[in-house]
């Protein structure tokens, strides 16, 4: 339900919520994107950051050569949003903060 708000944003491929161990709680992705793989990746990265930097409920933005990932750890779980490189990440962040 909440995720629809995120996927409405232009150039967002999809969004999901994952448990800290990488299982998908909820997801909404366009065809061609694997929500489970992204959830696993999100959990792995957040776990590493939590362990290494003692960062609680941190936000991570990863720019890759193909797309941009926004990961946010909340009490609900880990939000992960996959966007095109030129998506409005500021807007995505605001939406995530609103729905969390």
């Amino acid at each position: 339900m909440k995720l629809i708000e995120l996927t409405k944003i232009p150039k967002v491929y999809g969004a999901g919520i994952a448990t800290p161990d990488g299982f998908v709680v909820e997801s909404q992705f366009v065809v061609g994107h694997n929500a489970e793989k992204s959830a696993a990746m999100a959990a792995q990265i957040m776990k590493r950051i939590r362990n290494s930097l003692d960062a609680v409920e941190s936000t991570v933005i990863i720019y890759t050569t193909k797309s941009v990932f926004l990961l946010k750890e909340t009490q609900d779980g880990i939000y992960y949003i996959v966007c095109q490189k030129d998506a409005n990440l500021g807007l995505v962040k605001i939406k995530v903060d609103k729905i969390k």
């Binding site: 694997n34 793989k37 992204s38 696993a40 990746m41 792995q44 990265i45 590493r48 950051i49 290494s52 930097l53 960062a55 609680v56 409920e57 941190s58 936000t59 991570v60 933005i61 990863i62 720019y63 890759t64 050569t65 193909k66 797309s67 990932f69």
Partner: protein, 334 residues
């Protein structure tokens, strides 16, 4: 640093390590790692220049010339290369070519004091040569014997400051030459063999930070880095290798530099693996927003540039400034 080199054999840090070895008088070690590094990065011109200098300091001027000429053929406007070639030819006694090279240095950089000084002393030439020849004959025995100088004494001698005549005489006692004539008389070969600078020549102060115009490679980053650090929201920055070893630190307040570098590299590598797993390509950059600070990491070749900012910082602005530094890092470290 040698551990770092062992772990990350692909990095171009070997040139920096070699420079450290050279300043410690460890010429063979420097040559060894430079040769090894150049076998993997044959186009790394700076390393070749340092190798040339290493051979020069070791006394193998012929090899030094061979290497430096090779670099010179590719980059005729390289101030350091031309300067060192001047030194080499001077040492080989080919004063005419030495003068040509020193003049070229001054064309590239008219403020190069070292070249100006060498040129001046060479142009005072013929008299010097006569005195030199006479002196060599008279002092041949002591000159032929290399002078053993303790490291501490060497360090003191190598300070690029003006040494009073009396002090010079003490340092160069075995040569027993009148202080007034020394400038012209001294043959730098023997002095070089043990790393003692000649009083008249600045030949041995190659790469000496205070007098030479040569700059430690990463020091070139200071200027762009300063602009970045001048941003109010930037707390500091650091450069580490992809395997987590610190290269440069611009975050003076940091207490656990090695730990932070290791963590940043671990996060980067793990994220990279995860992204490869989902076929999302390579990391371009990433931002970690914590409650008390934001960490921006940008992979540059074999290194990671990390900028630590206050939470309210604007990452877009940080990346704009960082882009200028990235080019320099890429050029220096590959």
């Amino acid at each position: 640093m040698s551990d770092e080199l062992a772990i990350d054999s692909g990095a171009l840090i070997f040139a920096t390590l070699a420079d450290v070895y050279l300043s410690s008088g460890m010429y063979d070690e420097a040559i060894s790692i430079l040769k090894d590094g150049l076998s993997r990065n044959p186009n790394y011109a700076l390393a070749k220049v340092i190798l040339g200098r290493a051979y020069y300091l070791k006394g193998d001027v012929g090899e030094a010339v061979k290497i430096l000429e090779e670099v010179y053929a590719q980059a005729k406007d390289s101030e350091n290369t031309v300067l060192h070639l001047g030194h080499c030819y001077r040492k080989l006694g080919d004063n005419e070519r030495a003068i040509q090279f020193y003049e070229t240095v001054l064309k590239i950089n008219s403020g190069n004091k070292e070249a100006a000084q060498e040129l001046q002393s060479l142009k005072a030439g013929p008299a010097a040569s006569v005195v030199e020849a006479e002196s060599k004959e008279a002092e041949s025995a002591p000159m032929a014997k290399p002078v053993e100088v303790p490291a501490a004494e060497k360090a003191e001698v190598e300070k690029p400051v003006e040494v009073p005549a009396a002090e010079k005489a003490e340092v160069e006692k075995p040569v027993e030459v009148l202080a007034a004539e020394k400038a012209e008389v001294e043959e730098p070969v023997e002095a070089l063999a043990v790393g003692i600078p000649s009083s008249a020549s600045a030949v041995d102060t190659l790469f000496a930070p205070a007098e030479s115009t040569a700059v430690f490679p990463l020091e070139r980053l200071n200027e762009p880095m300063l602009k970045l650090l001048n941003l109010k929201t930037v707390k500091g920055a650091l450069i580490c290798s992809r395997d987590g070893l610190p290269i440069m630190n611009y975050y003076p307040k940091i207490t656990n530099l090695e730990e932070l570098c290791a963590f940043i590299a671990a996060i980067h590598n793990e994220s990279q693996n995860a992204l490869h797993f989902i076929e999302e390509g390579d990391i371009d950059r990433f931002i970690i927003e914590k409650s008390n600070e934001t960490i921006c990491v940008i992979p540059v070749g074999e290194s990671l540039l990390t900028v630590i900012t206050k939470p309210e910082a604007k990452p877009g602005l940080i990346f704009v400034y960082a882009r200028k530094i990235i080019d320099d890092i890429r050029e220096i470290l590959g």
